[in-house]
């Protein structure tokens, strides 16, 4: 046995157990060649180890499936001959992945779509790479990794919701690279600080969108102005409906105003403080115009409702601290809070009458909570009245006993 074959045998023995265990567990695919004689791992053990953790290894895919070569050989010239691909170029990577992933017959069994390449062609990345041959554009392995390709629902995957912003940020946070294309590099930081970023990274709410939620993944493109309301409306359905129903609806659809982005920012997606509603209106409308007045009235309604809600929340907290069961009050508060949330929807339609109705609903429910809290506080204050008889009886008893003791002392018994 040559020295290389000996090394191959030892390497195979070391690496075989995890693979064998995977097979015993029913995860393995068809075995085409004994691991102990698989030539690639002699030199590329680290890549084999990384590959074994990915989804492809579980499906019986091997090095030669992508890279070609002769796996029965361990000498480099012999192993790297025939249809050997080595490290493919970015363009070749697309074709290599697409050879399976664009084949519906192969993808069907895994429940995967086979349209990634078609989508990629429509993207800005695809245009750069495929049409212009620009290697700055990412290829499949830039987002999915080359060897450790994990499914998107694996938290270690680069395309898991918690990792996507950083995966995109690898290029889009690179100032030198983005400068070439006239793009800013603040998207990642703004996203992380915005409502969507907080939802994912603080609340662990994976329903919130990451970069691909608005831009698409393989077909990544910035939405057009006329598309913005539709993109946001995929999740914010009620808000989008209200926007289309109101005076801003038609201009948004025709592109004369920039839809949601007229008031909100795209990557930041910060919540708009109600105090800024009227200020925001006058950025487009004249300060003395009827629309500016309407904006002020909407702001007043929202702020009033918010103030009432905050007072109700404080009242509930006070009752909790004093040990009162606040299930009813929480229910009432929830009703007020729901109406307040509807205010957010209705303010997009600029329907003042409906806003006033909802504001009244918030205020009436919050007022019930507060009045209950006040009545309870009054009831608790009445406990203080008990101090009067307690101290009257105590002082009377002490006075009586003290006189008696004094009397005993005078009589010589003390």
């Amino acid at each position: 046995m040559s020295r290389r074959r000996l090394i191959a045998a030892i390497g195979g023995l070391v690496l075989l157990p995890p693979v064998a265990v995977g097979r015993l567990a029913g995860q393995g695919g068809p075995v085409t060649q004994d691991e102990s004689t698989y030539g690639c791992i002699v030199c590329h053990a680290d890549m084999r180890r990384a590959f074994a953790q990915g989804a492809h290894a579980e499906r019986g895919i091997r090095c030669h499936s992508c890279h070609g070569g002769d796996t029965t050989q361990v000498e480099i010239p012999a192993a790297h001959r025939g249809r050997f691909l080595g490290a493919p170029s970015k363009r070749a990577t697309i074709d290599l992945c697409a050879s399976c992933h664009s084949d519906p017959n192969q993808m069907r069994q895994y429940g995967l779509a086979a349209d990634q390449l078609a989508e990629f062609r429509t993207s800005r990345h695809g245009e750069l790479l495929l049409a212009r041959g620009n290697d700055d554009a990412p290829t499949c392995i830039d987002c999915h990794e080359a060897h450790t390709i994990r499914p998107a629902n694996d938290a270690r995957s680069m395309v898991h919701p918690t990792n996507i912003p950083r995966t995109c940020g690898r290029c889009h946070d690179d100032a030198a690279l983005m400068q070439k294309y006239g793009l800013s590099v603040d998207q990642l930081s703004r996203f992380m600080a915005g409502a969507h970023g907080k939802a994912i990274f603080e609340d662990r709410n994976f329903a919130a969108p990451t970069c691909i939620g608005c831009h698409g993944s393989h077909a990544a493109l910035p939405p057009n102005v006329t598309e913005t309301a539709h993109v946001c409306g995929k999740c914010h359905v009620l808000l989008a409906d209200a926007l289309y129903a109101g005076p801003h609806g038609t201009p948004s659809l025709t592109g004369s105003i920039s839809g949601c982005l007229g008031c909100h920012t795209n990557h930041g997606t910060e919540r708009l403080p109600p105090e800024q509603i009227s200020e925001l209106c006058v950025t487009c409308h004249a300060a003395e115009s009827s629309m500016a007045t309407l904006g002020q009235e909407i702001e007043d309604q929202v702020l009033h409702a918010r103030g009432e809600l905050e007072l109700a929340a404080e009242a509930i907290a006070r009752m909790v601290n004093t040990g009162r069961d606040v299930a009813d009050e929480r229910f009432r508060y929830r009703a007020a809070y729901t109406a307040y949330q509807q205010l957010a929807k209705v303010q997009h339609s600029l329907d003042l009458e409906q806003l006033e109705d909802l504001g009244r609903e918030v205020r009436s429910n919050a007022a019930v909570v507060r009045s209950t809290a006040e009545a309870y506080a009054e009831e608790r204050w009445e406990h203080n009245l008990l101090l009067l008889p307690v101290w009257f009886l105590t002082l009377s008893g002490v006075t009586f006993a003290a006189f008696k003791l004094r009397e005993l002392g005078r009589a010589g018994h003390g």
């Binding site: 907290a317 909790v320 508060y333």
Partner: protein, 440 residues
């Protein structure tokens, strides 16, 4: 036959009635006397009246004064705790689901339930303070010296029983403060090498405070510890009577007198001094009235704030102390670190051992400087730390607490009501007015 039965019944009733009439000149009280509630036939047959009269006639030495009432106040507070505890136990339900709602029910639905709960809470705080004052008096007056060293040790055991009472009762409200304070303590115990983890799990009956912990703490609090406390109190009082109250500090050579006589009880009834009845009973009456009034006042003015229900998935922003020893521990750990806590605990333990070492006749503080320094360091330190703990009021939980648990939380759980700005309203840690009010 019937006539005979009726006659026998009439005679029996007449006999009972004659007994009642014979035992009192006021027939309304007769029944009470007959069944032993007041002086009557049972007392005559068991000589209870003699024992009672002997107790009432018992004379206490002239130096016995107001400062000796500290022990009585401790006992009174214990009785208040028992009575309010029984009232609370009627409504309290020791289960994870029902503990917190039952506290809410006691506080807001049960008539005077709030008073029972807050009086229980305040008595639990006051008893620690008064007990330490009682101990300080005994310590500095050298009343622990032979032949009373056994009673000092019994007192120390009683102190631990009181601390156990408080420790087990602290969890029962099952709110965030009590839950996470216990978790902090158990985490600290778990960090003891070798045995810590086993000890903590043995105490909790689980790997975290859970329903198992609540059940065993409740059982200890209301079943096991009261029996132990009453037995120890009985022994404590018996020894007080048998050994007598320690003489004034300027009287020397008492021990030699005991050894010479070979007896462990006072030489008969003291001939001098003031009688227990009415003088000392009146003093006790005054002290009891004032103590109960103070406890009720504190209960009314500074009720124990209830935090959110215990939630193992949510570490609260702050932990608020609601018991004197927790205040002291909190201040120690914050100001002196873990080693400070250990050293102060060792100082406390050294006080327990002092009676075993300090057995000489010297009783004045100048004659036993080491003891005086140790005692002053402990008692003044305790008061200082307690005040510091009250000033600190609340602390953030340790960073190590629950980080793993939070990461595994499957669904974000709203702790309380959502605020309009998207945040959530937590019940306030403690109103400022209540933090300023001394102990809570």
């Amino acid at each position: 036959m019937i006539r005979q039965a009726l006659t026998a019944l009439r005679r029996a009733i007449t006999g009972v009635w004659d007994d009642i009439k014979a035992s009192t000149d006021a027939s309304l009280l007769g029944l009470a006397r007959f069944v032993g509630l007041l002086y009557g036939p049972i007392d005559r047959s068991l000589s209870i009246d003699q024992a009672l009269r002997k107790s009432l006639r018992y004379r206490l030495a002239p130096h016995v004064g107001w400062r000796h009432a500290l022990g009585s106040i401790t006992y009174l507070l214990f009785i208040v705790l028992v009575i309010t505890g029984v009232l609370l136990a009627i409504f309290y339900r020791p289960s994870v689901q029902e503990a917190y709602p039952s506290i809410q029910h006691i506080v807001s639905e049960t008539p005077f339930g709030w008073l029972a709960r807050d009086l229980h809470h305040w008595s639990a705080n006051l008893i620690v303070i008064v007990l330490l004052m009682h101990m300080a008096r005994v310590f500095f007056e050298a009343a622990y010296k032979p032949p009373r060293e056994t009673n000092w040790l019994i007192g120390i055991v009683l102190l631990f029983v009181v601390l156990l009472f408080g420790g087990t009762g602290y969890l029962l409200p099952w709110d965030q403060w009590s839950y996470w304070t216990l978790t902090e303590v158990m985490t600290a115990i778990s960090s003891v090498p070798m045995v810590g983890r086993r000890m903590a799990e043995a105490v909790m009956g689980d790997v975290i405070p859970s329903g198992a912990t609540l059940s065993r703490f409740f059982a200890l609090h209301v079943i096991v510890l009261p029996w132990i406390a009453f037995a120890l109190l009985g022994y404590h009082f018996t020894l007080v009577r048998r050994r007598g109250i320690a003489p004034p500090m300027n009287v020397e050579g008492e021990r030699r007198r005991w050894k010479r006589s070979g007896r462990f009880s006072p030489d008969g009834q003291p001939k001098e001094g003031t009688p227990f009845y009415p003088n000392h009973l009146l003093r006790s009456f005054i002290v009891a009235l004032v103590t109960v009034a103070i406890a009720i006042t504190l209960a009314i003015l500074y009720p124990r704030v209830l935090a959110d229900p215990a939630d193992p998935y949510t570490v609260p922003e702050t932990l608020v102390s609601t018991w004197v020893p927790v205040d002291v521990s909190l201040a120690l750990i914050r100001l002196a670190g873990t080693w400070g806590f250990v050293l102060f605990s060792l100082l406390g333990v050294s006080l327990i051992l002092i009676p075993l070492l300090d057995r000489g006749p010297a009783r004045k503080l100048r004659e036993r400087p080491v003891v005086a320094v140790l005692g002053l360091a402990f008692f003044i330190g305790y008061v200082g730390l307690w005040i510091a703990g009250r000033v600190i009021g609340a602390v953030a939980p340790s960073e190590s607490l629950g980080t793993g648990v939070v990461a595994e939380q499957p669904v974000p759980r709203p702790p309380s009501v959502p605020l309009p700005d998207g945040t959530r309203a937590e019940p306030s840690p403690a109103p400022e007015s209540q933090r300023e009010g001394g102990v809570r």
